[in-house]
């Protein structure tokens, strides 16, 4: 039962606050909407930053990460400006680099979506990695065991298998949540480990292993069923872009999107309005799993050596978390975020080969970026400094 004469500490629209132009300097950026009419939009630089914080915060996070990364590069005795220049020159301005960037971007958009969708339902899907692996291994299994099918059918069936395996893997977490109340963060982390162990066995002398190879791997996808890039454009990229747009549209325009977001914003009100939390949880997780599974399938079908090997997933699933948070949960935001992360990943080898800088610096950059975007405290500190005290004291656990 919040009074309007008590400025709401949370759930305030970003455009409702901000320091008025004529107010004294200590006038707080307290968002207040009262019956007497909303305050004027904030002006000046602060006003600009507040209005565009959805974009400002991620950019700030990346800039800060690069600044800290610069110190690390300098500490190794290199010129950071030059290093960054080389990094992005390689990722965007060379043909091989651009292809690598776009090949990395494709699965990153998908796993980014796999984290972003559950965020809308109030779930934190840490299991993109495991879901990607489940999709990849499922597709590899089908692609090999049904290898005698006509090529287009084989590709389609393999993709469907990847989608289903990913969805299945994520649904385990969803069902544990809806039936037993197991927190999805715990179950998805565990399912990641289970996927690693299970697949290790499957491809290392297990039923899916190609024993003619030295390294643990599945059989290679039939040569004519591989999705070779068209110039620098990987097949999966347009698919991923279309899916990002579709997800954004689904959330904004469809009744399903409304159901999902209602559950995410207030599950009690959802229950009151007859919207099923169980259904929303399962749909969100299964869809996410399918998208991550597709990412794994594309890794198999469009990246050399067209086999499921251990390490194929890299840290894609975890990069998805960075991407979703960098995009602040916005499905379309995953596109630029995935391109950025993809470019950094694709350019990392050039740091080592051309300059001798340890490529792990890219991991550090991504980790710092993640840290920055996942600390909403920073945003609050910057934009709502004056209300911080109230947020702390007036924020209630019971309401």
């Amino acid at each position: 039962m919040a009074d309007p004469d008590r400025p709401p500490a949370k759930d305030t629209p970003p455009d409702a606050g901000g320091a008025p132009a004529t107010a004294p300097a200590e006038a707080p950026a307290v968002p207040v909407v009262a019956e007497r009419g909303a305050p004027p939009p904030p002006t000046g630089l602060l006003g600009f930053l507040v209005r565009h914080q959805a974009i400002v915060v991620p950019i700030l996070a990346v800039v800060l990460a690069f600044a800290i990364g610069a110190i690390l590069i300098r500490a190794q005795g290199f010129n950071p400006t030059y290093a960054y220049q080389r990094l992005f020159q390689r990722s965007f301005l060379t043909e091989g680099g651009l292809l690598a960037t776009l090949q990395k971007t494709t699965p990153l958009i998908l796993v980014g979506l796999a984290v972003a969708i559950p965020l809308k339902v109030g779930l934190f899907n840490i299991g993109g990695q495991g879901q990607l692996m489940a999709g990849g291994i499922g597709a590899a299994w089908i692609a090999h065991s049904l290898r005698d099918l006509p090529v287009p059918v084989l590709v389609i069936v393999s993709v469907i298998a990847g989608l289903l395996f990913g969805a299945m893997w994520a649904s385990i977490a969803a069902l544990l949540k809806t039936t037993r109340g197991v927190h999805e963060v715990i179950s998805t982390i565990m399912l990641n480990s289970i996927a690693v162990g299970l697949i290790d066995w499957l491809i290392n002398g297990g039923p899916l292993a190609d024993t003619s190879q030295v390294f643990p791997t599945t059989h290679a996808v039939r040569e004519d069923a591989r999705l070779l890039p068209l110039g620098v454009l990987p097949w999966g990229l347009p698919v991923a872009l279309i899916l990002a747009v579709l997800v954004a549209w689904m959330l904004k325009r469809t009744t399903l999107g409304f159901e999902l977001q209602t559950v995410g914003r207030n599950r009690f009100a959802a229950g009151y309005a007859g919207i099923s939390t169980t259904k929303a949880t399962i749909i969100a997780m299964a869809t996410s799993g399918a998208l991550a599974g597709l990412a794994g399938t594309l890794e198999l079908l469009q990246i050399e050596p067209y086999r499921y090997q251990s390490g194929i997933a890299g840290s894609l699933g975890f990069d998805g978390i960075t991407i979703a948070l960098l995009a602040r949960g916005n499905p379309l935001g995953t596109i630029p975020a995935a391109i950025l992360v993809g470019a950094m990943r694709a350019g990392a080898p050039s740091l080592q080969f051309e300059l001798g800088i340890r490529p792990e610096v890219v991991d550090v950059l991504l980790a710092i970026t993640l840290l920055m975007v996942s600390l909403p405290v920073i945003a609050k500190w910057i934009f709502r400094r004056h209300t911080a005290k109230q947020t702390q004291l007036a924020g209630s656990w019971g309401a």
Binding site: D3, A38, R253, R265, A269, G274, K389, Q390, S396
Partner: protein
């Protein structure tokens, strides 16, 4: 006014001025939340701050407690007019505050909560024994019994509030600020709290308390200030010659009809019949225990009872949010009757049940959604608000604009988030949504809790209009006055069942009070 109160009042006058505020102003953008406010609190007196939602009461006390800095004006505490830097500073200077939403850690015990923020240690370990002793000592001194080892989440709301008060008192408080302390309390708990306030004042502690409830002001306060639109528009130094309607009209600036004007009910056929309903509460204990009731078209049946006697579980069960253990609920009569005993929320709604939930913030609204989306919260996927599975924003907006005008929802547009509305206007959104579907049965649970006087009148009028249009109305309220003024028939609930049914016009306050307390022999 009682003798003790009069003494305190006189004593307060002769004693020092504890708090003096002069020319206080505070603006948020162009909104003047407080404008040139001046007031005084003497030692040992209870001062009420009365005003509608949005009048600036909370902003005022937040500045006293150091949560906000005034734009202009001075706050003088015990002669010291230096700026109050933060709540810590305010506490150091003898100000304590109990927030409307409690600041307790639910999984900790009372003693642990009490020591939170100023933990004392003994040989490197937390001195829990010391904290326990402190709780016992404080409870004994202020006659506020709490178990120091109870976990806060297990305690009833009234007791949690007691812990908050004790916590404030543990820091040598001269002035205690209570922000709408009775909003969450049962009538019994309210009476206890009012008693505690009187005792504290008699012991020399001054109290500033914010409330909407006029009766409480008259029963406990020595003086009161009335705020409207950020200004002090009136003060009453002698409350003994004041009536509730005097105060109410000062608050809203116009006469408020506290008695609801309504014609004699003309009940038609039975719309709701509840038979031998049993429902469990969250802990799995029987809450509704053999409840029988019928509600007919064109009548308002009020369920009166002390909170916690199964009202919440009853309403949730009828609304399809809490499956009952046994019993039956039917909508309609004769051959047309529909069994909604185990229908879910949506099916119940579609069967013609409108539900104004007890807790509008938790159940009734999605704060981050626009007013428009909240107005179609349980119809978003029906025509014309959706074509197939694609939502039609134009249709939603048009419909919402109509309701905004019809239900006088004070917002410049329907795109504003519901969270930005005042309590009264939030309730209007809920009422508009539930009533606009023209339900056969309207269930209203605590429909005016925490809303301003103007909105109370509005909601009451709408409920009567729904009745006159032929709806059956089931009103559940902890405010006996509300039940008495609205209901055509009153069902008194105690221990999860109806202990008496009384015609509204024959209802007698004391008689109902006795029945609510479980004294059923008297009827």
């Amino acid at each position: 006014m009682t003798d003790t109160q009069a003494e305190v009042h006189e004593a307060g006058r002769s004693r020092e001025t504890l708090l003096e505020i002069e020319g206080l102003s505070k603006a948020f953008g162009t909104v003047r939340a407080n404008e040139d406010i001046s007031l005084r609190v003497d030692r040992g007196e209870i001062v009420a701050l009365l005003g509608e939602n949005g009048a600036g009461k909370s902003t005022l006390v937040k500045q006293i407690f150091g949560l906000m800095t005034p734009d202009a004006g001075t706050i003088t505490i015990k002669g010291d007019s230096s700026r109050i830097k933060d709540p810590k500073d305010a506490i150091r200077r003898g100000i304590g505050m109990v927030h409307q939403h409690f600041q307790l850690v639910p999984v900790m015990t009372v003693a642990e909560n009490m020591m939170l923020g100023h933990e004392s240690t003994r040989s490197g370990m937390l001195d829990l024994d010391g904290a326990r002793d402190m709780v016992r000592e404080l409870s004994a001194r202020h006659n506020l019994s709490v178990d120091p080892d109870a976990e806060v989440e297990d305690l009833p709301v009234g007791t949690q509030q007691r812990v908050e008060i004790l916590k404030a008192l543990s820091r040598e408080v001269d002035l205690l600020i209570l922000d709408e302390p009775t909003a969450v309390l049962t009538p019994q708990e309210t009476d206890e709290l009012l008693g505690v306030m009187k005792d504290l004042a008699a012991g020399g502690t001054s109290i500033v308390f914010i409330t909407h409830k006029l009766r409480e002001v008259l029963s406990v306060a020595d003086r009161c200030y009335v705020l409207r639109q950020g200004k002090v528009v009136g003060g009453v130094d002698d409350l003994s010659s004041t009536t509730t309607s005097d105060l109410a009209s000062m608050m809203v600036g116009r006469e408020v009809v506290l008695r609801v004007d309504k014609a004699e009910a003309t009940p038609g056929e039975t719309v709701l019949s509840i038979k031998d309903l049993h429902v469990r509460d969250d802990r799995g204990l029987p809450a509704v225990d053999g409840f029988d009731l019928e509600v007919r078209a064109g009548e308002i049946v009020g369920v009166a009872g002390v909170e916690g006697n199964g009202q919440r579980e009853l309403v949730e069960s009828l609304a399809g949010m809490r499956p009952p253990v046994s019993g039956s609920v039917h909508l309609g009569s004769g051959a047309d009757a529909v069994d909604i005993t185990r229908s879910n929320a949506r099916d119940t709604n579609n069967a013609g049940v409108g539900h104004i939930p007890e807790d509008r913030e938790k159940h009734g609204l999605v704060g981050g959604y626009s007013i428009a989306d909240n107005l179609v919260l349980n119809r978003f996927d029906e025509a014309p608000f959706a074509k197939g599975f694609i939502r039609d924003f134009g249709a939603v907006r048009e419909y919402a604009e109509g309701l905004r005008t019809e239900f006088d929802i004070r917002s410049p547009n329907v795109e504003a988030p519901a969270a930005s509305l005042s309590g009264g206007n939030k309730q209007k959104v809920v009422v508009a949504r539930e009533m606009s579907a023209r339900p056969r049965l309207l269930m209203a649970a605590q429909p005016t809790r925490g809303v301003d006087v103007g909105s109370i009148e509005f909601v009451h009028r709408r409920i009567v209009e729904a009745r006159d249009a032929g709806a059956a109305v089931l009103l559940v309220s902890a405010e006996l006055d509300e039940v008495l003024s609205l209901a055509d028939r009153i069902a008194v609930i105690h221990g999860g069942k109806v202990v008496a049914e009384i015609a509204g016009k024959d209802a007698d306050r004391t008689e109902i009070g006795r029945l609510m307390a479980g004294d059923s022999d008297s009827h």
